[in-house]
Symmetry: C2
Amino acid sequence: MQYYNISISVGITKSENFTDVQNEIALLSKALGHPARIAILEYLNGVDNCICGDIVNEIPLAQPTVSQHLKELKNANLIKGTIEGNSICYCINGNSIEKLIFYFSKLASKSKNSTCC
Amino acid sequence: MQYYNISISVGITKSENFTDVQNEIALLSKALGHPARIAILEYLNGVDNCICGDIVNEIPLAQPTVSQHLKELKNANLIKGTIEGNSICYCINGNSIEKLIFYFSKLASKSKNSTCC
DNA sequence: TTATAATATTGCAATATTACAATAATGTTT
DNA sequence: AAACATTATTGTAATATTGCAATATTATAA
């Protein structure tokens, strides 16, 4: 008797089964799915003109953790930013946020009238 | 020599460090952070009047997996639903979606003018 | 050049998420 | 009642996420 242990993709999100739009909205949402990253966006929004050097001091987490969250926000295209001297200059990418707003508006449009549940 | 291995919260999101609003938006976003759950919402939105019995057949994942995703959407208050006979009747909770739209609109408002990054 | 300051990366432990087979629970048919 | 249909739960394996200490990188200041 011989056993073939076939287990290919347990634990991985099956992105290939879904549309590009579904995957994109999910990725953006996922990046927003942590309070620290929401807090970072709130701070960036509160600071005018992108003069933002000390995000680390504003977020109640250790510096490497904040750095990691910033990286994820940038990967998801939710913030733009560059290093300027020995500090960073990040700001919100309004386009991505608006993409979400536009998508969710469509999603909520029909569901307003639903009274059965 | 004696070692005290103190490691309390490694791996857990530190929700207590953030505001209620930040946590709520993050939880909603997190629930939206998977293409299958986006697909479920799209399907629910496409079907009028909540006559939705066969979500499982519409999502390209195994039935237990779909059931799990539905549970998460319900936990996050993104869908409402009840069992009706031997089928389910789910529909989108427009209030939660609108909560996100409202929040993101505020977040994107200031960032439109940012030109430094 | 040698600090100093700010951010990034690495490595690791702990927890969370994803997916599904097997099974349970529950209502509907026959 | 027995078979069927539909959804939920349990258990488990694999991967992902979270958080931080230690360290690296890079630019500025002394």
